[in-house]
């Protein structure tokens, strides 16, 4: 479905994740973060950039992997994105909901 955010139209799925990463920019990310009650700091953006890089390299993301990334440890990841951090951060980053295998 379409939605307007930060002055642009983006496509999101029923859970609010962007369906095409091409439509993402930093303003969109900031606006999505505000909806999750998060004020983005440079440290937040470092983590978001890391997630986007991993996504572009087709690396599936998990909390465990982020904890071992050297970019951020799990404690800090939770401080930055307190509620369901991996999902929240993925949404802000404009990448798909992490596929926890079933």
């Amino acid at each position: 479905m379409d939605r307007n955010i930060a002055g642009v139209t983006i496509q999101v799925n029923e859970e609010g994740y962007l369906t095409s990463f091409q439509q993402w920019n930093q303003e969109v990310g900031t606006a999505l973060a505000q909806e999750a009650n998060i004020n983005m700091s440079p440290r937040h953006w470092e983590v978001i950039n890391y997630l986007q890089t991993e996504f572009k390299n087709d690396v599936p993301l998990s909390i465990r992997k982020i904890g071992k990334s050297g970019v951020v440890d799990i404690k800090e990841f939770y401080q930055l994105f307190p509620i369901a951090p991996l999902k929240t951060a993925s949404k802000i980053a404009g990448i798909p909901k992490p596929a926890s295998c079933i």
Binding site: S62, R64, K65, Y78, A99, S100
Partner: protein, 410 residues
């Protein structure tokens, strides 16, 4: 004479031994299968053992009984694979050369990954049911437990049979009802996922059942530690959940031999092409069952579908033909819902669990995503099918390897 070596004689390895022996000439191919255990465990039975539904002897049988004539069964622990030299090294120092290798060493629990899980309370008030020993110890505990807060918990994904923990919660509800003590037990289901399951449709169906059975759910819980003194579990965000009895599914990992061989990812699962089941690093190594890193369920039913496709692909590989990109992630599993009922879900890489009938479009008799007694019988029949058909590589009538779309509501 060339040699195929199969690592692991569990569900997947045993099926491959049976399939390949049927297809490959004995004078051309020797087939060896290695396992450190003597007993084959029917792991789905671990779910029923704690509730006194199955006895230990229902779920273990000698591995030897399922290995066909013409396949050498080697009973030893594997140290590592040396893929550059095409050798498997055994812990006892033996070495075995292979032309083609199949990795089917499965997944196991790693409670040591979570701080405090293996603390003083382990097997006193903290239990797992993903091992035979754990399920048995839990059975003994449940027989005498007088009630309190029961917490059923998943540490992190992926885990084998991802529906088993919620089934455990449903069966616990029935068990305590039958013992006339349901009012003394508070059941909470704690998951790292954002709902009862990963896929939205199945989540709705399962959430409804949790509500009906008065089982609380705590979602998005990423455990940091088990506090043995205070008997609580704590997540990275500081959330605390108290328990009197914690039934946890610890982190699941591949065997350490995969790390020693330099072949695994961060959970010791082997990077594998998801449609062909060839290893990503070596073309003469194939991987199936719980040992792979592919985003399909770690389930016996998946291993069964994979084994049929992998057999074709190995025959192609041997004949120098291109591999077929066939595996679609097809899984189907019965979900025990307690009170003698079950539901059935069927899904693959791209389709989420759907409603409809199975295996015959429009007829069933099994109903997808709906609770019924017939589904429960199906789940119990699965044990018979497992021992008598699945392991021997017999094709199960009407059940196709790839997911069928007829008769299902997408």
């Amino acid at each position: 004479m060339k040699r195929i070596v199969i690592l692991g004689a569990g569900t997947a390895g045993t099926m491959m031994a049976n399939h390949l022996r049927n297809h490959l000439k004995r004078e051309e191919w020797e087939i060896d299968i290695i396992d450190e255990r003597e007993e084959h465990h029917y792991q789905p039975g671990y779910l029923f053992l704690p509730f006194d539904i199955y006895e230990p002897e229902d779920i273990t049988k000698p591995i030897r009984d399922f290995i066909p004539h013409g396949v050498n069964l080697i009973h030893d622990a594997i140290d590592r694979i040396v893929p550059q030299e095409q050798f498997v090294n055994m812990v006892n120092g033996d070495r075995l050369h292979y032309d083609l290798l199949i990795i089917a060493t499965g997944a196991k629990i790693a409670p040591e990954e979570t701080e405090g899980m293996l603390g003083e309370e382990w097997q006193k008030s903290v239990f797992d049911f993903y091992t035979f020993e754990g399920a048995l110890a839990l059975r003994n505990k449940l027989r005498e437990w007088e009630g309190g807060k029961l917490v059923v918990h998943i540490t992190e994904m992926p885990i084998k049979c991802p529906v088993a923990p919620i089934e455990f919660a449903f069966l616990a509800d029935s068990y305590f009802k039958n013992k006339h003590m349901r009012d003394k037990v508070e059941i909470t289901y704690v998951t790292p996922l954002s709902g009862a399951f990963t896929k939205p449709k199945a989540t709705t169906a399962l959430q409804h059942l949790l509500d009906v059975k008065h089982i609380q759910i705590e979602s998005d819980f990423a455990i940091e530690q088990v506090d043995n003194d205070r008997k609580i579990i704590i997540d990275y965000g500081g959330r605390e959940i108290p328990f009197d009895l914690l039934v946890t599914v610890p982190t699941n990992k591949g065997d350490e031999l995969i790390v020693r061989s330099g072949l695994g990812d961060d959970l010791n699962f082997v990077p594998t092409h998801k449609a062909t089941l060839q290893s990503r690093d070596y073309e003469n190594i194939f991987v199936l069952g719980d040992a792979t890193n592919i985003a399909a369920s770690k389930a016996g039913s998946v291993a069964h579908f994979e084994a049929e496709i992998l057999t074709d692909n190995i025959l192609r590989y041997i004949n120098g033909e291109p591999l077929k990109e066939e595996f679609d992630g097809h899984a189907n599993c019965f979900v025990e819902t307690g009170g003698g009922k079950a539901l059935l879900i069927d899904f693959n890489y791209t389709h989420e669990p759907v409603e409809g009938t199975f295996p015959l479009p429009g007829i069933g008799p099994l109903r997808l995503l709906k609770e019924s007694r017939f589904n429960h019988m199906g789940k119990l029949a699965f044990r018979w099918i497992y021992w008598n058909m699945l392991l021997k590589g017999t094709h199960i009538p009407f059940v196709s390897t790839k997911m069928q779309e007829a008769g299902k509501e997408f």
